[in-house]
Structure formats: C-alpha cells, structure tokens
Amino acid sequence: MTQEHPVLELADFDEVVRLYRPRIFRFLMASLGDRDVAESLTQDCFLKAFNARNQFRGDSSLSTWLTRIALNLVRDHLRSRRMRFWQKTRDTALDLVDISDWVPDTAVSAETAVLQRERVKEIWEAVDELSRHQRMVFILRFVEEMELSEIAETTGMNTSTVKSHLYRALRIVRERAGGGKA
C-alpha cells in the first residue's frame, strides 16, 4: 500500500479490508466497549469507504481516512436513539468487552500478571468514564498511536484543542486508575 496511487490502493478492496479491519475494529471496540456494535460499525465503515472510494484523493493516509469514517460512525451512533437505549441498559449489563482473558507476557510471574490485568482493568474503566472527545483523543493517541497532528486531522480539531483534551483525559485516567503523579 503506497501513498502515490491512492485510487490504486483502493482498487483491491479485499486487500484493504484484510489490512485495516483489525485496526478499525480495535478503534471502534475501544471507543464503544461493545463487540457487536464494533463489528457492525466496522462493516459500515468499509461499506462507506467502498461507496466513496472515488472521493479518496490521497491527501491523508488510507488509515487516517478510514479512521475518520469510523470516528463519524461513532459520533452518529452515540447520537442515535439506539445508543441512548444501550447506555441505559449498559449499567446493568456485564462487561461487554471482556479483556480479562488477555494474557500478559508469559515471562512475568503470576503475581505480576495479575497486577497487570488489574491495572488494565482500571485503565479500561477510567477510559470509559471520559467524555466523548477525551476518550476519542486518548484512544487515538495511546491505542492507535497517532501523532497529535494526525489526531487533529482525523478529528477536525485544532492541535491545541487536541492537546487540551488529551491533557484532561490523562489527568482523569491517572487519578481514577490510581497511577498517582507520573
């Protein structure tokens, strides 16, 4: 996948799906915390990308373009009535994405592995408490590992706004996850 021929990049759409589906699904799952919704929105994202493939000019990377589509889908989803219903039932539901079965590096001791899992769970719960913008910026920065300029391009915010959201998100997550002052 090169950036010189953006239209050619999308010519083999199956290859695009194969390469970027895990990343888009990861972003959606981290944003929404629901496996099924993340899968549905991943499909919607690639359908939108396929329908709008002629509009892709290569001004940004294909990954950024797809993430922007996914971000808009998350935004629409959060605004929809279905999501409001989901938010009501979410409190009574079990952990929608169970990350407790994540197996850390086997080289560490069992005690360390338990502590790692506990810390991951705390971060997961703290991220869930963030506002929509803070969560988006946090996930794009620390899960998708985007640069601040990329986040600004994807979200349509100013870089200073991105920094502001990220600063607040980090402070909240640090406080709630019990990380203390870094």
Partner: protein, 159 residues
C-alpha cells in the same frame, strides 16, 4: 522549556505509561482475536441492508414530513380564508343596498329641488290663500256652499 513541560504532561511515564501500554496490548489482543477469521464474500451484506433500511427510513421521514405539512396547510387554510371570505360577502351584500339608498335619497332631493321653485311675486297672494285653504280643510272640511274653496280659487286663478 514550556514545550518540554507540555510534552511531559501529555506523555505518561513510569508505571502509568506501563499501564497504558498494557491497556493497548490488551485491546489489540482482543481485537486481533475477534478479527482473526477472514471475512466471507457477503461480509458487507448486513451493512448494505442497514444502509438501505436507513435510506428507506429517511425517505419515509421526508414523505411523512411533507404529508404532515400538507395536512397542516389544509387544516389551517379555512382559518386564513374565512375572514376574507366574510368580508367579501359583506361587501357584496351590503354595498348594493347602500348604493340604492344613496341613489334614492339623491333622487328625492333632486325632485324636491325641482318642485320647490320659488313662487313669483304676482302669485304670492294665491300661495298664501292655498296655505290658508289647506289649513281650513284640515280643520273644518268643505266650504259653506259645498264646493271646496281651494278648487274654486284654483279655477279662478286659472281663468
């Protein structure tokens, strides 16, 4: 100096950085597991179905909106048209009567003007006599010889 401080504020370090790194690993692990299976040929079929359904919903929404607007227009139409209609009817029914009244009164005035010409000075005594005659007729009826006085006088005047 300020940018370094900003960078430090935006880049976690120590145990907190490790926790975030583990969080990323966990999310990546779950996402990788969920997307491990290759997609089938009709993987996008549900998305297409949802897309068509959403388009249909939007179309129905627009149609319902127009239908509601049309019903509202038809329902409120009499409220806007009724006062004008009444006023018009009022004008149509009242105006001819007023016109007739005006024309009648004008005609009567014209007639009064035409018939109430001043009596020439030479006939002034007769006019006074006629006035007296009408008064006496009203009070006593006929003249002593059985002939109405005014008729006699009129005959004399005409001769």
């Amino acid at each position: 100096m300020k940018s370094d401080m900003e960078y430090e504020a935006l880049e976690p370090s120590g145990k907190f950085a490790e926790s975030i790194s583990d969080f990323r690993s966990a999310v990546t692990h779950v996402a990788g597991r969920e997307t491990a299976q290759p997609v089938s040929a009709d993987w996008l079929a549900p998305a297409r179905h949802r897309h068509r359904k959403a388009q249909l919903k939007v179309g129905l929404g627009i149609a319902m909106g127009w239908a509601c607007a049309a019903v509202l227009c038809f329902a409120t139409l009499p409220l806007f048209t009724h006062p004008h209609h009444t006023a018009a009817a009022h004008v149509v029914t009242v105006s001819p009567a007023a016109a007739n009244t005006e024309s009648d009164s004008a005609l009567l005035e014209q007639v009064d003007t035409n018939i109430s010409e001043s009596v020439p000075s030479s006939l002034e005594p007769l006019n006074e006599l006629e006035s007296w005659s009408s008064t006496s007729t009203n009070t006593s009826g006929d003249s002593p010889n059985g002939t109405p006085l005014n008729q006699t006088e009129k005959t004399n005047v005409s001769h």
